[in-house]
Amino acid sequence: MPEQSKTEYQDLKAGQKFPPAAFQIDATTVSDYLKAVEEDNAIYQNTGLVPPMAVAALALKSLIGAISMPPGTIHVSQEFEFIDTVNTQDTLTSHASVNRIQERGKLHLISVDINVSNQEQKPVLSGKTSFILPVP
């Protein structure tokens, strides 16, 4: 995944779109992911299927790469919809946009929509991630 320039979170605006981020999930990445989460379900053994939460994690990686978040940022809630299976070697593209920004006292609540599609432009995952960040 190429390096992205980061947007300071104070500069984010509702509706703001991030540049699309393309990524692939190869068998080694899946293997590393399965080892990390200690997932041993046979559905992933020699089938080429990618765990949907691995797709989600790498989509969030794109987002983390796009926003400069301060220490103290807390991931407070998460929604995901798994729309289609993903196989190793699929090329995925993540599209993210700021859904909402709210200031609550000394904290900001930021929600970001994420949509991931495959090389055929078919959606495979969508979600909404929400963070609380300290107001500077």
Binding site: N41, S77, Q78, E81
Partner: protein, 144 residues
């Protein structure tokens, strides 16, 4: 693999129990690309209000997805929905129990929409993640 649980309201999903270890957190950081020091740098984390490293919320959420995959097989991978809140951090040394049950089943045309409560709690019975998961299951699925 198809549905492994009885499709009936109140049915418990097969629980998943995880010992949270720093080496898993480090592996997850590498696999996900999330190298926030709060997860992997003990010296840094000790000086924060959290007082030590914590697992990525997504690592714990992966255990919920694992439970749903164990229960509903491939349907979960292409017809699953998660909606959760992260209630408390999970720390190295914690034992996280992921549990769930079928709250409601709605019959559709050739399928059933199964709505589940999901919970991750630690060894002190404190909730770490709460929320719900939905999965669309075909009527011809095998059931145990």
């Amino acid at each position: 693999m198809s549905t492994q649980v009885e499709l009936k309201e109140g049915t418990s999903l097969p629980a998943v129990i995880k010992n949270i270890r720093q080496d898993n957190i480090n592996l997850y950081a590498k696999a996900s690309g999330d190298f926030n020091p709060i997860h992997i740098d003990a010296d840094y984390a000790r000086k924060t209000p959290l007082g030590g490293t914590v697992a990525h919320g997504m690592l714990i959420l992966a255990c919920v997805s694992q439970m749903m995959t164990n229960a509903f097989g491939r349907d979960w991978l292409s017809e699953g929905k998660l909606n959760v809140r992260f209630r408390a951090p999970a720390r190295p040394g914690d034992v996280i129990t992921v549990s769930g049950s079928i709250r409601h089943i709605e019959k559709g045309d050739g399928h059933q929409m199964v709505d589940c409560d999901v919970l991750c709690s630690n060894q002190n019975d404190e909730p770490v993640i709460t929320g719900d998961a939905k999965v669309k299951v075909g009527d011809n699925e095998n059931r145990s």
